[in-house]
C-alpha cells in the first residue's frame, strides 16, 4: 500500500468536480491523480492508471456511473478494478442497491457532505465494509430485485472447499432465519476468505450476487 491514496474523479459537472477536488486535496493523504468527465476513452485510461479509489458520479458523459463501472470491470477484470464510490445528488435506495450489486463499495450523496466523502474514501481504500448484513437485508426487502442466475458464479460457489463452504452455510442459516437481531450481529468480515476466491470485490457484493442467483434461498 502506498502512503498517499491516489484518487480518480469522474463527473460531468466541472464545478462539482472542482469542489470535490478541493475537498480531497485538502486531506494530507489524498491525491487526485485523475479528473475527467467519464467518456468512453476514460475506461482505457483508468485501467492503465494506478488509481487506489475511483470516485465516479452517477452522471457521466458516456453513461450512468453504475454502467460505466460495470464496463470498467469487464475491461480490467473484477479483481483488478479499483474500488469505487458512486456520488449522487440524493441518497436513493434503488441506486444504492444497483451500485452495490455492481461491486461499487458505497454511494455518497451531496447531502452527506464533504465529511461523508472523505470518510468513504478512507473506508474504501482500506476495503472496510460500509454496510452491515442487516442494511443489505433491508435493502433487498424494500427494493424490487430481479433474479439472474449466473451459472459461472454458481459453479464457483459449488466448487468451494469444504472449509469455506461452511461460512456460506452459516450465512444462509442467518439469512433464512429472517431474525433481524441475528442478521444484525453477523460479521461480514467472516466472508472475506470467500471474497478472495470468488469474482466479487466485497462481502456485500458476494451476498447480493448469491441472492441474485437464488443461492441464499436454497439448502
Amino acid at each position: 500500500m502506498t502512503s498517499t491514496i491516489r484518487i480518480g474523479l469522474l463527473g460531468t459537472d466541472p464545478d462539482v468536480r472542482f469542489g470535490r477536488k478541493l475537498v480531497l486535496s485538502s486531506q494530507p493523504k489524498f491525491e487526485v491523480v485523475f479528473d475527467s468527465v467519464g467518456s468512453p476513452e476514460d475506461l482505457e485510461a483508468i485501467s492503465q492508471s494506478l488509481i487506489d479509489v475511483l470516485i465516479l458520479d452517477q452522471r457521466l458523459l458516456s453513461d450512468a456511473g453504475v454502467t460505466f463501472y460495470s464496463s470498467l470491470r469487464k475491461l480490467t477484470g473484477v479483481k483488478q478494478v479499483p474500488p469505487a464510490i458512486l456520488t449522487a445528488s440524493f441518497a436513493q435506495p434503488y441506486l444504492l442497491l444497483d451500485a452495490l450489486q455492481e461491486g461499487i463499495f458505497d454511494v455518497v450523496s451531496v447531502e452527506q457532505g464533504a465529511a461523508g466523502l472523505v470518510a468513504a474514501v478512507s473506508r474504501t481504500y482500506s476495503r472496510a465494509n460500509p454496510h452491515s448484513l442487516s442494511t443489505v437485508w433491508e435493502l433487498i426487502c424494500t427494493q424490487t430485485t430481479y433474479r439472474t442466475v449466473d451459472l459461472n458464479f454458481v459453479r464457483l460457489v459449488d466448487e468451494l472447499p469444504q472449509g469455506l463452504a461452511s461460512s456460506l452455510k452459516q450465512l444462509k442459516a442467518v439469512w433464512q432465519s429472517s431474525d433481524l437481531a441475528t442478521i444484525e450481529n453477523f460479521d461480514l468480515d467472516s466472508l472475506n476468505k470467500l471474497v478472495s476466491r470468488l469474482p466479487v470485490l466485497s462481502s456485500v457484493e458476494l451476498i447480493l450476487a448469491m441472492n441474485r442467483s437464488g443461492l441464499l434461498d436454497v439448502e
Binding site: D13, D15, V16, F18, G19, R20, K21, L22, V23, S25, S26, Q27, R59, S89, F90, V110, G113, A114
Partner: protein, 425 residues
C-alpha cells in the same frame, strides 16, 4: 326533441295532448261523429300524466276503453294515439308506472281489436259486394288485430325506452360533438401540461446539479481555505457563479410552472384565511375557522402547503355541495404537531332539500353506511393534498360521514413544519 321535453315541466305534455286531441280526435270526429270525441278527449288527456300523477294516465286510458265499448265506437285515428302514448310512456314514465301504463295500453289495444272484430255493424265490402262475417271470421279479425295492436304498442314502448337510453348513454349528435370538442380541449391541455412538466423536470435536474455544485464548492472552500486562501477564494467565486445559475434556472422553473396562471407577489399565509372565509361566505357557504392551542411559528413552505390543503378542501366543498352548506376549518396547535380538520355538512343539506315520498327529508339507508365504509374517495385534488401533506412528513385522511358530509383531516409532525426559534439548538 327528447331533451327539450326533459327540460320542461308541463308544456310538452300539453302540446302533445292538444295535438292528439285536435288532429286524431278531429279525424275521428269527421269519420265517427261527436261521441268519438269523448274517446279522443280521454286518450289525449292521458298524455298529460305520463311523467307525473301516472295513475291518472292509466285511469284515463281505461275510461277511454269503457267509452269505446259503451258506444260501440271504432275510433281508428285516436287508437293510433295509444301507440304514441306507449312510446311516450316508454321514454318518460318511471318504474313501476312505465310497466303498468304499458299493460294498460296493451289492454286498451285488445279492447279496440275486440270492438272492431265483434262489432255487429262492421262487414267487409269487397269489390262492391257485401260479405256477411261469420263468427269464425270475426274471431280471425280479432286475433289479427290483437296481434297487430299488441305488436305496435310493444314496439312503440320499446322504441321509447331505447330512445331515452340512447339519449342518456350515447347522447345526441350535438352532445357527441360537444363532448368531442371538450375532449380535444382537454387533450391539448394535458399535452401542454405534460410538456410543461417535462421542461420542469429538466430544469429541476439542472437546479439539483447546480445546487450540488454550490454545496461541494462551498465545502471545498471551507476545507481548502486554511491551507490555501486562494483556493478558498476560487471556490467562493464558483459558489457565487453556481448560485446565480441556480437562481436563473429556478426563475425559469417558476415561469414554466406558473404559465397561464396569475401569480400573486405574496404567497398566501394563515393570515389570508380570513379573507378566504369572506369569499367563501360570499358564494353561499357558511364558513368558520377555529384555532385551538398555542400557536407557534411555521416554516414558510409548510404554511403555504397547509393553506393550499385548506383551500383545495374548501374548493371541493364549494364544487360538490349546495348553497347553505356549513364548512368548518379547525386548526389544532399541538405540542408535537399541527392538525387541520376541514368538515362540511353538504350531504345533510342536500338530503334535507330533497323530500322523500312522504314529504319528509330523505332518510339515509344501509347503502349509505356501506358506501361510507367501502367507497374509495379519490381524485387529483385529493392526491395533490395528500402529497403536500406527505412532503412535510404528515398524513392526510378523507372520511365520508354518513348522512352529514365529508371530513378532511391532515396531521403534521412539529419536526416537519415548525420553525426552530431556539438559537442554541
Amino acid at each position: 326533441m327528447l331533451r327539450w321535453i326533459q327540460n320542461r315541466n308541463w308544456l310538452p305534455e300539453i302540446a302533445l295532448s292538444a295535438f292528439v286531441f285536435l288532429v286524431l280526435g278531429g279525424l275521428d270526429l269527421a269519420t265517427q261523429g261527436v261521441i268519438a270525441m269523448l274517446y279522443s278527449l280521454a286518450i289525449a288527456a292521458s298524455f298529460l300524466f305520463v311523467r307525473r300523477l301516472n295513475f291518472l294516465a292509466s285511469a284515463l286510458v281505461l275510461i277511454a276503453s269503457v267509452i269505446e265499448v259503451s258506444f260501440s265506437l271504432v275510433p281508428i285515428f285516436s287508437s293510433i294515439g295509444i301507440v304514441l302514448l306507449a312510446f311516450v310512456v316508454g321514454a318518460f314514465s318511471l318504474q313501476p308506472w312505465r310497466e303498468i301504463n304499458f299493460v294498460v295500453a296493451i289492454f286498451s289495444g285488445l279492447v279496440f281489436a275486440a270492438n272492431v272484430g265483434f262489432n255487429p255493424t262492421i262487414n267487409l265490402a269487397v269489390f262492391g259486394g257485401s260479405i256477411q262475417l261469420v263468427q269464425l271470421g270475426r274471431v280471425f279479425i280479432f286475433l289479427v288485430l290483437a296481434l297487430l295492436t299488441t305488436s305496435l304498442i310493444s314496439l312503440s314502448w320499446v322504441l321509447g325506452q331505447l330512445s331515452m337510453t340512447r339519449l342518456v348513454h350515447v347522447g345526441t349528435e350535438i352532445d357527441r360533438l360537444v363532448y368531442q370538442e371538450k375532449q380535444l380541449k382537454l387533450s391539448i391541455e394535458i399535452a401542454e401540461q405534460s410538456k410543461r412538466f417535462e421542461i420542469a423536470r429538466d430544469i429541476n435536474e439542472t437546479v439539483v446539479q447546480r445546487l450540488s455544485s454550490v454545496i461541494t464548492n462551498a465545502e471545498g472552500g471551507i476545507y481548502s481555505a486554511k491551507a490555501n486562501p486562494d483556493a478558498g477564494l476560487r471556490a467562493l467565486e464558483k459558489v457565487l457563479e453556481s448560485a446565480r445559475g441556480t437562481h436563473t434556472e429556478l426563475r425559469r422553473l417558476f415561469d414554466t410552472i406558473n404559465r397561464g396562471t396569475v401569480v400573486s407577489t405574496n404567497l398566501p399565509t394563515f393570515a389570508d384565511l380570513d379573507s378566504l372565509a369572506i369569499s367563501m361566505r360570499e358564494i353561499g357557504l357558511d364558513f368558520s375557522i377555529s384555532h385551538f392551542g398555542k400557536r407557534f411559528a411555521l416554516d414558510q413552505s409548510a404554511e403555504l402547503a397547509i393553506y393550499r390543503i385548506i383551500f383545495e378542501a374548501l374548493k371541493n366543498v364549494r364544487q360538490h355541495n349546495p348553497k347553505g352548506t356549513r364548512a368548518a376549518v379547525e386548526i389544532s396547535w399541538l405540542e408535537n404537531g399541527l392538525q387541520v380538520i376541514i368538515k362540511d355538512n353538504g350531504v345533510e343539506i342536500l338530503r334535507r332539500s330533497s323530500a322523500g315520498p312522504n314529504g319528509l327529508p330523505l332518510p339515509y339507508e344501509a347503502k349509505d353506511d356501506l358506501d361510507a365504509l367501502l367507497a374509495k374517495v379519490s381524485g387529483p385534488g385529493l392526491t395533490a393534498m395528500r402529497e403536500r401533506a406527505e412532503s412535510f412528513g404528515g398524513s392526510l385522511e378523507l372520511k365520508r360521514v354518513v348522512g352529514i358530509g365529508f371530513t378532511v383531516s391532515a396531521m403534521f409532525p412539529a419536526t416537519g413544519i415548525r420553525v426552530n426559534l431556539d438559537p442554541d439548538s
